[in-house]
């Protein structure tokens, strides 16, 4: 039996499609139509990964509440938001509540599967000791690709999967300018330029929160970004 995944989605057609697709990928997937159903089921047993829609039936913020609930019960449970709401504000709220990733509903099933696989891999690798070849070290920066973990002077930077891939892209070739398209491709993200800009900003903030003197990501106007060598 594969890993257990729960999908909380009020739209039955989408729920059915995702459940079927994920089952086909080899996961043990259950779908729940409301926050109440999900909470009841989770009270019995927690799944290994949860995919939540924000608006649940007549609760516009039901997904957020559920996420908070789950995070309270388990700090390590991977949570992915999959929603039609794509405003920056929602993304930030979702991630701040402790979700590991935030996907828009136009994400394809394959990409969703890839994200899920990445998250599971991360959990796996966090359990195992880090192997040397997958670690990129750059001054105070330490990037463990297997664990999808980035530390600065030994302190962990809480990046999302998307953000991790973006930093990964930059750090792999320090000094090389990566344009927005490249960053988007690496992060398997299909968004506009402005979103890339805001992602970069968020990444910077997260670094600065840990290390106030941080200025590793340099903007090359009109082109893109690069990791300061």
């Amino acid at each position: 039996m594969g890993r257990s995944i729960a999908i909380v989605e009020d739209e039955p057609l989408i729920r059915a499609n995702y459940v079927e697709a994920l089952n086909r990928f080899g996961y043990d997937t259950r779908g729940y139509g409301s926050r109440h159903d999900a909470s009841t089921a989770f009270a019995m047993r927690l799944p290994e990964l949860v995919i939540i829609d924000i608006g649940l039936g007549d609760e516009p913020e039901g997904g957020f509440d559920l996420c908070r609930e789950l995070r309270a019960r388990s700090a390590t449970l991977p949570i992915i938001f999959l929603t039609a709401r794509d405003s920056d504000f929602d993304v930030i709220s979702g991630l701040r509540l402790g979700a590991d990733d935030y996907l828009s509903k136009d994400t394809s099933l394959h990409q969703l599967a890839a994200r899920i696989a990445a998250l599971f891999r991360r959990i796996e690798s966090l359990k195992a000791p880090a192997s040397s070849e997958t670690v990129i070290e750059h001054g105070p920066l330490k990037l463990e690709s297997e664990r999808m973990r980035i530390t600065w002077n030994g302190e962990e930077i809480p990046l999302t999967v998307t953000e991790f891939w973006m930093v990964h892209t930059l750090v792999r070739f320090p000094g090389h300018v990566k344009n927005r398209d490249q960053l988007m491709r690496e992060a398997e993200l299909v968004v506009d330029d402005a979103t890339i800009t805001s992602h970069i900003k968020r990444i910077r903030k997260k670094f600065i929160a840990v290390a106030p003197e941080f200025d590793g990501i340099e903007t090359v106007h009109g082109v893109g970004y690069r990791w300061r060598p």
Binding site: E11, L13, I14, R85, S87, D193, A194, T197, V220, H221
Partner: protein, 670 residues
């Protein structure tokens, strides 16, 4: 015409006030004058009656020779120099002659001046004297008369020949002087006063005319001190009286015209006098013919009084600002006896009238000033308020129906006013609220719609994904691919729709920093060069760094859009120019490119969202929704500037201008 000017014109209506006042003061003055005239006329009639009752020596009716008083002795020489002061009052004698009579203490002088160009000369003793020019002088004392003939063949002394037999008291010989010049001759002589002559007859014979000399006996009339004394007894103060003969000779005179002595402050100034004369007292006679010393007053009014009725007349006084009232009444029942003329100087009337007029002028000027000021203030306030309203409406209009910050926070101006402008402002506010709400609805419609579309799209998409794993007949594969393509395009559309609102939020959240704009533009130009292909890309930057408080990534993003736009419209071997210029309060980035000019219809909405100039997307390609220039505009507005597009003057292409003024500096801390 502005509202202010109109109101000022309306304010001119208040000018009617002083005009009405002026007419009123005029009327008052007329009444005052009328009353004064009636009073003086009454006293004149009373005086005339008492003169008759006391049997005062009044002048007799009919013609008379007036004997003037000569101030200086007269030399008998036949020349008129001595007579000069009396000449204006000479008495006509026949058609061409003049007679003057004068006397001093001892003598009665006579002076005959005859204009005769054709002369026939003969001495008085000559036999042909009756055919020559001569003068007959007749004297009457009591009932007795005697005539003398005066003639001369040459200038010089002449002796008169008596024509009548001698009579007691009359001189036998009359000596005179005869002088002539080209225009005529003059006879001058004198008689002793003690003769007591009562009447004189002067007849002039002109040899050139056939007319016989007509004897015209006339009594002598003199200025009468006795009558003057009687007048003085009847006279009140400040009144001058004159008794005139029916011919207008002044027979008696008494009194002085000195007006009551006024205080210095009461003395009207020249301006007041001028105002009085020009505005109030139009019908004033000249003072000249009324001079005190004139022995004769040959005035129309006097003659009218002589006809039986009383007349009153206002004339200017001798002193400045004074007015003299003159009343003429006939003496006795019959006007043949002469006329009594009373004059009274009146300063009160002009003073009163002047004061009234001046008070009126000052008051109405003050009222006019106050009214004008009030109206001006009112009109100015009204137009200021109206222009504020207009400005606010225009500002709202310039913002495409969205209310700008000021209106949003301060509300629409003047909505608290309780009057009609307040009503108008409130209507405007409501209208703009509705328009703003509707515009907001329209603007957010795309993102709302995209949000709603996302769910069904996800259903189709995930179903298609699942379908790939279902056992399908091979025929179905192309349809599946087409459905996938359609969903992909639909997805792009929806994303583009939501992108606009996301972008607005992203742009609004951008944080400014101090950046050298030249570096940003140079970096962009370097990045674009590989993309330009065969096209020529030039970049003009100012020599010195151009520091601006801005969000460089936003500007770079806007430039990306502009460049992308320029690239798609520039022909294969065309040119693209990027330039940066410093402004007084910011910077201006211009990106011009070769290409077709902008269609006129698009000028205004080029920078709106979901507007595109490009051809319909080719199949398989993503449709273009014209978000690029909208982003440019948002970026420009975020930097308190504006984005503009215009055709180049030479028609070779199009220029897009990004005018930036820098973002407001944020305060650090709370």
């Amino acid at each position: 015409m502005t509202l202010r000017r109109k109101l000022l014109l309306v304010a001119l209506c208040t000018l009617a006030l002083p005009v009405a006042g002026w007419l009123y003061v005029r009327q008052m003055e007329m009444l005052l004058r009328e009353g004064q005239a009636q009073a003086l006329e009454a006293s004149a009639r009373a005086m005339a009656r008492s003169l008759v009752v006391t049997h005062a020596p009044l002048p007799q009716g009919g013609g008379a020779w007036f004997v003037q008083e000569t101030p200086n002795p007269i030399t008998i020489d036949g020349y008129g120099d001595d007579w000069a002061p009396m000449t204006p009052w000479s008495q006509p004698l026949g058609a061409r002659g003049k007679l003057m009579l004068a006397e001093d203490g001892n003598w009665l002088y006579f002076y005959v001046d005859v204009r005769a160009t054709h002369r026939v000369r003969a001495d008085a003793g000559d036999a042909n004297v009756m055919a020559a020019d001569y003068v007959v002088l007749g004297l009457q004392v009591g009932e007795q008369q005697r005539r003398y003939l005066l003639a001369s063949a040459a200038p010089g002394p002449v002796s008169a020949r008596p024509l009548d037999p001698p009579a007691p008291g009359f001189p036998d010989l009359l000596v005179a002087q005869w002088q002539e010049d080209g225009s005529g001759y003059r006879v001058e002589g004198r008689l002793p006063r003690k003769l007591g002559i009562d009447a004189i007859d002067v007849a002039v014979h002109d040899a050139g005319s056939v007319d016989e000399p007509i004897a015209s006996w006339r009594p002598l009339l003199r200025y009468s001190p006795q009558l003057s004394d009687e007048l003085a007894q009847l006279l009140t103060e400040h009144v001058r009286a004159r008794v005139l003969s029916p011919d207008g000779w002044v027979v008696a005179r008494s009194g002085h015209l000195n007006a009551p002595v006024a205080e210095a402050s009461d003395q009207p100034g020249w301006f007041a006098s001028l105002v009085y004369r020009s505005l109030l007292a139009n019908p004033l006679e000249d003072a000249q013919p009324w001079a005190d010393e004139a022995p004769r007053m040959n005035l129309a009014d006097v003659h009218t009084a002589g006809g039986g009725g009383a007349t009153a007349l206002w004339r200017q006084g001798e002193t400045r600002g004074s007015v003299v009232l003159a009343v003429a009444v006939p003496l006795g029942g019959d006007a043949k006896d002469g006329v009594l003329l009373l004059e009274q100087a009146s300063r009160a009337v002009p003073l009163l009238a002047n004061r009234a007029l001046f008070g009126l002028l000052m008051t109405s000027f003050g009222v006019l000033l106050v009214a004008g000021l009030i109206l001006l203030t009112f009109a100015t306030r009204l137009s200021v308020r109206l222009s504020r309203l207009r400005d606010a409406a225009e500002r709202a209009q310039a913002n495409d129906g969205r209310l700008d910050g000021q209106i949003l926070f301060d509300r629409f101006p003047m909505t608290d006013a309780p009057d009609e402008i307040g009503d108008l402002a409130r209507s405007f506010e409501r209208l703009l609220d509705v328009v703003g709400g509707y515009t907001d609805y329209l603007r957010t419609l795309a993102s709302k719609l995209s949000h709603e579309l996302n769910t069904p799209l996800a259903i189709v998409k995930s179903s298609l994904d699942n379908l790939e794993h279902a056992a399908l007949p091979p025929d179905a594969a192309p349809y599946l691919a087409r459905a996938r393509d359609g969903v992909a395009r639909l997805g792009q559309l929806v994303r583009a729709m939501s992108e606009a609102s996301r972008m607005e939020r992203a742009i609004a959240a951008a944080e400014p920093e101090d950046v050298d704009l030249g570096e940003v533009v140079r970096g962009c130009a370097d990045a674009y060069r590989p993309l330009a292909g065969m096209r020529e890309l030039t970049c003009q930057l100012p020599g010195s760094p151009l520091i601006l408080h801005c969000a460089p990534e936003l500007i770079a993003q806007a430039l990306d859009k502009l460049f992308d736009n320029a690239l798609s419209f520039t022909p294969e071997h065309g040119w693209i120019r990027l330039s940066l210029r410093a402004l007084d309060d910011g910077a201006e980035i211009e990106l011009s490119n070769q290409g077709a000019p902008l269609p006129a219809a698009m000028q205004g909405r080029l920078f709106d969202s979901l507007v595109s100039l490009r051809d319909k997307a080719t199949p398989g390609d993503a449709p273009h929704l014209g978000l690029g220039l909208y982003v440019v505009r948002l970026v420009a507005e975020r930097h308190q500037g504006q984005a503009m597009a215009h055709n180049l003057a030479d028609g070779s292409g199009v220029a897009f201008v990004l005018r930036l003024h820098g973002m407001p500096r944020q305060r650090l801390g709370i």
